[in-house]
Amino acid sequence: MPSRESTAQLLVEGKNDQHVIWALCKQHNVEETFTVETPNNDSGGIGSLLNSIPVRLKIPRLKALGIVLDADQNLEARWQSLRSRLEESGYNNLPISPNADGIIIYIPEKPKVGVWIMPNNRLPGILENFVAHLIPEGDELVPKVENILQDIENDSLNRYPFNKRPKAFIHTWLAWQETPGQPMGQAITAHALNHLAPIATSFVDWLRRLFGEA
């Protein structure tokens, strides 16, 4: 059974996104006017998230739906596949490419829709790239992490594929903090990561515009 009736929902790809966003909202005192939802099934993945969008846009009394997804290798392609789902649901006149500060779409008598493509609506990448931008400026461990990844890659010792490198990076960095191996969300709460980084502020701004007067 659907857990609760929520008329403002932020749809994200998985648990990690959920925890990072909850932690950021807490640090920025964002009002809890929306729930953060995941596709919530085993098959999971971007496909079931995209397919669920037309169904979610029909949720009774829904006022706003935010969608956070990874650009992965190709931001344009990701945006196009999302765009076509939104057009199916009657959202026309969508921008050709996403705005840097996140998209918000208003159509009369329809829920407001917001889109944020990780990391920053401009570059390819994933949630972990976004979180890497929260590492305090001039951090001395960053070049060390970079070197060690380079080293093992040069020796072909890395077991991660290239597209998972940002995960290897951020989790290596997190392994070397005061509380080694904290999950990303907790590292934000513990201020090991900087929630005031420009990318975080921009993201929180987008959330506020989307859900603030929802």
Partner: protein
């Protein structure tokens, strides 16, 4: 089969439109969003006896006016059915109307309109056949200022058919049978409306007469088996209550068991399937289809409804409030050879307007799999 429907001025619907109807349609929505009214509208449009269907609807809703002394005629007036509620603004004024239309698969329409005079002089005793009574509804009883509720039906290129009911100026269809209003029986024909009211022996017996000793009987036994796997045969006796008059033979038992001893769900599921097998190429409308059925029985109930509906070429519209019932519908559809036979429809009130939101079988799969609210 109805593919689309337009309703104007009937109860909650000021202007209402729905397209892409399917073979089996499950309707959800908040209280007072128009679910029952939608079933009634479809019943009126698809009924073979529109006037009887309207009286049946009023009777099932309890929209009656009791007998009273009418000072204008200084005479006791018998009770009747109050029609004002069927109009969107609930006013009894000349020209007041309710309109029902469908264009596909075949064009048909029904208009119920209040007129001062009889549209065409037809036999006065027409009205009386409705109540199976030979007493005359005279002008004195009607207070001399009677109006006519006229039913105009178009369809299939045929001429307009007109029928009428006399009503008092305050909108009452007089029932001459007695001063207390009895529940009326279901009109004959290929459109059946199952309300949430208790289904009595008489109704089931009438259906059963045309089912017994035909292959349809097996479907009804199959329906009862969903709740009681040991049911083997059904029999109606002369004891005319649905509790003691309908007997079931259970495998391994020597004595038959009265239906009434087995819980409301048994009578309900029997009524649903007995009605469905009785409306070949017709329409079945069921209000709160899961009433009395435990959630474990719902998927089997839907499976049987889907199969039987496809086999009978009968269209089904049912309502529910329950997530279990929606999920059971999806599970039954998922295993059915042609899931596109099913559609979920949510009615949503938006100010004075009712909107219909449709979910295909695929969309329903996603909603159930990801726990997305549809009601």
């Amino acid at each position: 089969m109805l593919r689309d429907l337009k309703i104007e001025n009937y109860r909650l619907f000021h202007q209402f439109e729905i397209n892409s109807l399917a073979g089996v349609n499950l309707i959800v929505g908040n209280n007072n969003s128009g679910k029952s009214s939608l079933l009634e509208a479809i019943h009126l449009l698809t009924s073979d006896e529109t006037r009887s269907s309207l009286i049946y609807i009023l009777s099932e809703r309890g929209e009656v006016s009791s007998g009273m002394l009418d000072p204008r005629i200084d005479r006791f007036r018998t009770g009747g059915y109050q029609i004002s509620q069927i109009f969107h603004d609930r006013l009894i004024t000349l020209g007041q109307y309710a309109d029902f239309q469908s264009h596909f698969d075949k064009a048909m329409s029904l208009r119920i309109v209040l007129q001062e005079s009889h549209p065409q002089k037809t036999n006065e005793s027409d009205q009386l056949t409705l109540f199976e009574k030979d007493e005359i509804v005279d002008d004195i009883v009607l207070g001399g200022n009677a109006e006519f509720l006229v039913f105009e039906r178009h369809g299939n290129g045929a001429d307009t058919q007109r029928e009428s009911l006399r009503i008092t100026e305050d909108g009452v269809v007089i029932d001459n049978r007695s001063s207390s209003i009895r529940r009326v029986s279901h009109p004959k024909g290929k459109s059946r409306l199952l309300t949430t009211n208790y289904i009595g022996y008489d109704e089931l017996a009438i259906l059963w007469d045309r089912i017994t000793l035909t292959p349809k009987e097996d479907k009804v036994v199959e329906a009862l088996k969903i709740l009681e796997p040991l049911v083997d045969r059904i029999s109606f006796t002369s004891s005319q209550t649905s509790n003691s008059g309908i007997l079931l033979r259970l495998k391994g038992e020597n004595d038959p068991i009265p239906l009434g001893s087995m819980g409301d769900g048994m009578r309900r599921i029997m009524a649903i399937i007995a009605s469905l097998v009785s409306v070949e190429k017709g329409t079945l409308l069921v209000d709160e289809i899961d009433t009395g059925l435990y959630h474990g029985a719902l998927t089997d109930m839907w499976r049987l409804v889907l199969e039987t509906s496809a086999k009978q070429d009968a269209q089904v519209f049912a309502t529910t409030h329950s997530w279990d019932c929606v999920r059971a519908f999806q599970q039954a559809l998922d295993k059915f050879k042609d899931p596109e036979i099913g559609r979920l429809i949510r009615l949503e009130k938006f100010g004075n307007k009712v909107n219909a939101i449709l979910y295909s079988a695929d969309e329903l799969d996603i909603a159930i799999e990801q726990g997305i609210e549809v009601r």
